[in-house]
Each structure stands twice: as C-alpha cells, then as structure tokens.
Amino acid sequence: MNYLLSLIAGLLLAFMVSSNGIVGEAAGNYASSVIIHFIGLVAVIAVLLIRKAKFKNLRQLPLWMYSAGLIGIITVLFNNLTFTALGVSLTVALGLLGQSITSIIIDHFGLFGLPVSRFNTKKIVGFMIILFGIIIMALPV
C-alpha cells in the first residue's frame, strides 16, 4: 500500500509539471506563478488551521532559511517554459538528471553543512544509462 502511495506521489509531481504548464499557457509565466503559489498558500493555511499548528522560534532563524520559496519560483518558471516545448515526460527526465547531479555535487563537497559523502565513480555507469535513456526519449518519432 505504501509503495503504491509512493508511486502516486510521483505521479502527482508529474501532474504538477503539466497543470502548472497549462496555467502558464493561459496566464503567462509570471501571473501563473502568482496564481499557483497563491492556491498552494491557501491550501497550506487550511492544513495549519486544521492541525492547530503553532509558530515558534521564527526570529532566531537566519533569513536564508526562508529562501526556499524564492528558489521554487525558478522551478515553476523553468518547468512552464519547457513544458510546452518538450512535454511532461522529457521535462521530468531532464529534471531528474539535474536533481541527481546537484545532489552528488552537494554531497561531495558537504555543502549547506551537510555531511561530506565523496562521489563514487561507479555512479558514472548510472549516469551513462540515464543519458542514453534521455537521448532515446528525445529522438524524433
């Protein structure tokens, strides 16, 4: 059951690329990002109210810790730009490649105060397979 739920969560992530892309086509890249974030904000406020969640320790935290939402704008913007040109599956595949490479760089250098975990050269094999898969996906029919 939990495995199925994990698959569904992945499917929903792909759904977001497609749904956000459609809003982007209707409202333009910038207005669509406002609409998408506003609806998400309303949803999370509803969750907080239902759970009667409290906010604590906000002032002690450095400002950069609040920057994730700003980085998220780049995600929405770039996904919307590529969605129309490449479709969902190729956008997702390239995004996953970008995620893997970034994770490895951060782990290798221990950025953001995370523990260092050196790059294992065996992973080059994995990357070759991923690249080969993406090339096959991108080939014109």
């Binding site: 495995y3 209707a26 907080l48 969640a53 810790m65 939402g69 040109a85 956008t91 997702v92 898969g133």
Partner: protein
Amino acid sequence: MYITLAILAGVSIVLSRIVNYVLADKIGLFQGTFFNYLTGFIGSFILLLVSGETMKLFSINSYQGSWWAYLGGIVGVGVIALSSFLSSKISAFYLTLLLFVGQLFGGMVLDYMVSNDFSIQKIIGGVLVVIGLGYNLWIDAKNNKASTEIEKNNQVSSI
C-alpha cells in the same frame, strides 16, 4: 536551450528542498511549507509587477484553462504531506525510486492525455532512466549501510 532550462529546474528543486528541509527541521513541516509558499507568492508577485504583465492576473483569459490545472498548488501541499508520511513508513531508497518511476511514467500518461503524444521510444528511454537512477541510488543505499548505521539517510538524495 529548453534542455538546459529543464535541467536547471531540477537543480532548483534540490536547492529548495534542502532549504525547506533545514527550515522544517526548526519550525515544523507545514509551518516550513507555509513560508515556502508565502515567499514564493510574494516573490512571484514582485516579478509580475516588474514584468509589466500585472493585468494578466485579473484577466478572464488567464482562468480559461481546464479547471483541474489550477489545482497544482493544492497538489503540491498534498505531495509534501504524503512524502513526509511515507518517509516514516518505507526506506528512503524505495521512496525515492518509486517517486522517480511515478514521475516518469505519470509524465508519459499525461503526455498522452494532454497532447495525444505517445511512443514506444519514450517507454524504453524512461525504463533506462529509471534503471540508471535506481542503480546510483542503490550504490548510495549500500554505502550508507556500510558506513554508519546511526547516520544513515544523511545524503541529499534521501532528503
């Protein structure tokens, strides 16, 4: 051009996920998610004002897409809740791998539904991408197990 943008979107996902993870660790998951959408909303709004497309926010045409397409924000909050629930139930290895599989094959189903775009190549390519991602994930999982049992799941790929 589009290929670079799609890869950079992936880079931005990891960066925001790490920052969200650090914040959620301090103030709670949904409190962190609240600030994620709040700063995202404010930032987008400023960008919209600068772009000169502000009127599009109030134009009827902007709301003429299929109604379900506007649920993306709600789905985003749902996925955050679901992943946090699942991360306590199954190993990071299976969760991440199944998220990959769900995204890639969900993407293919959506391509077919939205633009009737379907090909055997996409399936073969998608299977290869999953094999490659899964292989690297498996190497991480093996190393984590070998190093320290206490400090497992400390790599970015499992956040």
